[in-house]
Symmetry: D2
Subunit: 334 residues, 4 copies
């Protein structure tokens, strides 16, 4: 099994909190954005993608966030509902904020970039008063994404959500998801990442993200064991550190570590790999899989999504995922 | 003829100053934006459209503006150059600004709306120091669009451009182009519209735009003759007041007025009508047409553009325009 | 006489518009502020000082401005009323703004400096809608001070006041009063100084202030005759250019110029010299004095004020002023 | 004795972090500020006052903060140094910030208020990179004041200081010192107060301040025992809750509570009572006093300061304090 326990008497499996935005993916690929002409619109944002992935896998999923009071915002809410995600925690901005945008550029499968619109966005205007203790305590899991910490009042809304989750034994997953462009100051970033991580049961991030958090405190080791054990001294039970092409390692408080393997895929773009991994990994952990099995499910989901055009709409159902695991080639990492 | 004179010894026919942005036009029409999926990217912004229209008609055209330092900004500069517009006056922002966006929604030919992204946009960061007196004095005409007055430092850049234009007898066309969403305060808007209009030779706007400017000064007549004569007491020689479906009236300082007729068109969308009208109207006035003939050219150009998908890319060449005038049905307004 | 005419059928002689603030003058003089311990509180701000000077001289005076909703704001309004200044045009801020402060440091009579508090100040929050056309048309003179142009919405309020004044033939005096610390950008400053000066009948400033305005337009002559004649081509009838210790020169539209002399004084500090000069100079011009006589009155008033501790409270009555002129030594400038 | 232990091998007794500002105390008392004329200048700000009190009592004291680059800032640094406070942790702002001001109004001994200038103040611009781990680890005690949490980057600087203090076993005193006027949102305030308090060894505040922190989490008991035990579940060893005229109660982790008595004083003003109390209370705890004895020292110090004109300059030496305790009447609270 795995070191996590989930409160079973809860009507919702997972509530995600944070960014809801729009991806505008270039239809013409393998060229710079200067030469693309048309875009397709998808719901995006890391916690949105994870929530959609979770719902596709059959989990009862909810969302806490804020959308703009315009066609973009309504498109997002409609899409979540079409995917059976509970949106009672999604409020509508009344200040004239817009929906964040991410224009994607796919020059080659390995050379992808994003052009972001993050000024005056609705998702960062979520206020602490819009986070309901009664709602959070109905969930087994709270999924927090780091981008929601970038600005007030969304930053404070997340800390309030963490208080409620800790108080009611909701298991908290923290997907670091650090995006430098929404932050103005690296030290500011690191302060809040560290404060939030202290209150989380599972922390998932890249080596570079953990390094950013440690640099603030004059820690420059970049040592996975040290990083994991630092968080075990707070609340964490499981720490996943990603090393890009070299795969991920999951550390558990009992001292074990687990490496994930890879399902080689026909890659269209790299976007969405982390979110699809997270949604299936969490699903596995919540459904009596071992850490290694859950990591394998994450890898399979990532392989499926990076071969498709969108991040959110590409998320597999549990049947697709199981079928893929059963039939695709899997390469364990030594 | 017409009341305007143009300095003939200038290498450039027209320089436009102001907004350069991107239109993202929904490919699926006759539905709300919540239900559209794909968008096509075009250069947009009123002065950009007029400059493109001017260049297509064969005028030597330049632009003074600012673009973002990203793929969107480079797409705009590339497109202007492809259309033979001189871009030596187009600077590149270095502060992390983005390109303004306009998502269009075409619910029906008569029910079109725009969703704007105007936070932290590069075009409003044009600084007075980036407006060259030497460049402006090379032009016969300066085309100013009101949206550039919305914020500092673009606002001050326009006033400096007006000083240079007046000093060197560059004929100034002021297209009011008032867009409430980029302004925070109607009185603030009206102050700068009035100050700028004092320094212009031709003023083109809707009745509502002139009303907004007059309301500030406790003038509530909404009277075209009064409006025109107020501006004749400053510098204006020609004032065009648009009355939507009822057509436009052009007043000249000598007391004459001229009504434009209409070329009935198969309307796809209403966007771009004003910009295409302006580019052909200015072309006519600069090429020895009477005011009435220039207005007819404007109407023809508008008819062509509103039957096509884009605003900028749809601008006709002089051959297309002349052919349309020669063959299409024309309804004079009584 | 002088070239100005004033509408005699007006109940108010002069309305000043703009800055109302607090001076905190060090009681210990001839030392740096690091070593001063106590301060005395006075009403300050250039137009406030001029209005107080005007009222002391017996003119019917009013004020248009905005004060903070606290003890500082009420102190200002009380003081104005005690000096018989009409305050119906003084509104009270409701946004939590503070009163601007000026801490003075008098190291020696010739080495004085000011430490300003100008963040979030009430005076710059005066809104165009708070400027009454009915009120302005009751005055013979409108006194505008340049600092009110530093920020929106005060900037637009001044332009609206200028429109009303011009419409109703209120003679406008523009005291440039350029304070670099309230402006963020010299080009921005210069644009609005120039636009405002076009609408004024009398312009009073230092050579450096006029240079700042001309530099924007690539004029680098620093030539008094040129400067004066540039403004005569707009609306001005009288332009006063100050050359510090070398005295001031007043130019009139008919080509004449006038130099002011000096009343040698026992100087305590240099603050307030310009404001006291302006109030008595305007008084003279409004009371059938020649330009030279009015300048002499200005010099006398300045001599009185710079020998006293405050700027505002030190303003002389007409009896004091006349007595000073009659008895003090006067040195004409050759 | 008391429950706290202090690392004895440290060269500094106490480092305070946070606000450095100027108090401008009206010399004329028993009247509203509208009627006061002169002010005396003192160094102010809660942590500054506590540091000055600490130094006067003979403790080796340092400060971490930021001052403006002007006469006010230099006055503060000079005054700290004159009081033998180490200022190597005091940096000078380079962004044009000003020194915060507090104008005091003493209508009667029991009706005192403050008019604050807190826009663009230097003290809130302290950056995490300006907080030195090497410096903090030289101290026995770190004194944190809540106002420093009001804005970024000072807020993050405090969290970094807390990390260093916890890492190096520096005993942290948290003086809540909640001033609503520097905060824009009560929920935002409460989030950071709670996060900081988790990392502190001693928490001192009024009942209202603790209520504000608890309200965020839907705790409305206003129960001292509950409040204290909530913080004991984190890091705190000692929690002091003040009940205004009814005195204070100190709770220790072992379940004990202690009430302070009062030294009846001839009150001039109430300002400075809390800061003088804190400085002597901390002194007592650091010098082998029991909690009750330390509270008595705090009360004596408060009595001395509220009978004098300033907060900082009025802080007693250890001789004055001891003499006062030995001779003044003391009323224990039952």
């Amino acid at each position: 099994m795995n070191p996590l326990t989930f409160k079973q008497d809860r009507p919702l499996d997972l509530i995600a909190i944070g960014r809801l935005c729009i991806d505008l993916n270039a239809n013409e690929t393998n060229r710079p954005m200067e030469e693309t002409n048309t875009f397709t619109k998808y719901v995006g944002g890391s916690p949105a993608n994870i929530a959609i992935g979770s719902a596709r896998l059959g989990q009862k999923t909810g969302f806490i966030g804020k959308v703009s009071d315009d066609q973009m915002g309504r498109f997002i809410t409609n899409y979540l509902e079409k995917n059976k995600i509970d949106t009672q925690g999604v409020t509508v901005d009344q200040t004239g904020a817009v929906t964040g945008l991410a224009f994607t550029e796919i020059k080659s499968p390995s050379d992808c970039s994003i052009l972001m619109y993050r000024d005056n966005v609705a998702d960062l205007k979520l206020h602490p008063s819009e986070v309901s203790e009664d709602y959070i305590k109905q969930a087994k899991v709270l999924l927090v994404s780091g981008t929601a910490l970038a600005q007030s009042p969304s930053r404070e809304a997340v800390f309030v959500a963490l208080e409620y989750a800790n108080k009611h034994n909701v298991t908290v997953f923290f997907d670091l998801d650090y995006r430098p462009y929404t932050w103005t100051d690296e030290a500011e970033t690191a302060v809040y990442y560290n404060l939030a991580a202290e209150k989380c049961d599972v922390i998932i991030g890249t080596r570079e993200e953990f390094d950013m958090m440690e640099k603030l405190l004059n820690i420059n080791e970049s040592d996975d064991h040290y990083t994991a054990s630092r968080w075990f001294s707070y609340r964490a039970e499981l720490v996943v550190i990603k090393h890009g092409g070299e795969g991920s390692i999951a550390y558990t408080k009992d001292g074990d570590s687990h490496r994930s393997g890879i399902f080689p895929a026909k890659v269209l773009k790299t976007f969405g790999a982390g979110d699809s991994y997270a949604s299936a990994f969490i699903y596995g952990l919540m459904n009596q899989k071992t850490v290694s099995e859950a990591m394998k499910m994450g890898s399979a989901s990532a392989s499926i999504v990076i071969s498709r055009h969108s991040c959110s709409d590409a998320m597999p159902t549990i049947e697709e995922l199981q079928n893929y695991i059963d039939t695709a080639e899997y390469e364990p990492v030594v």
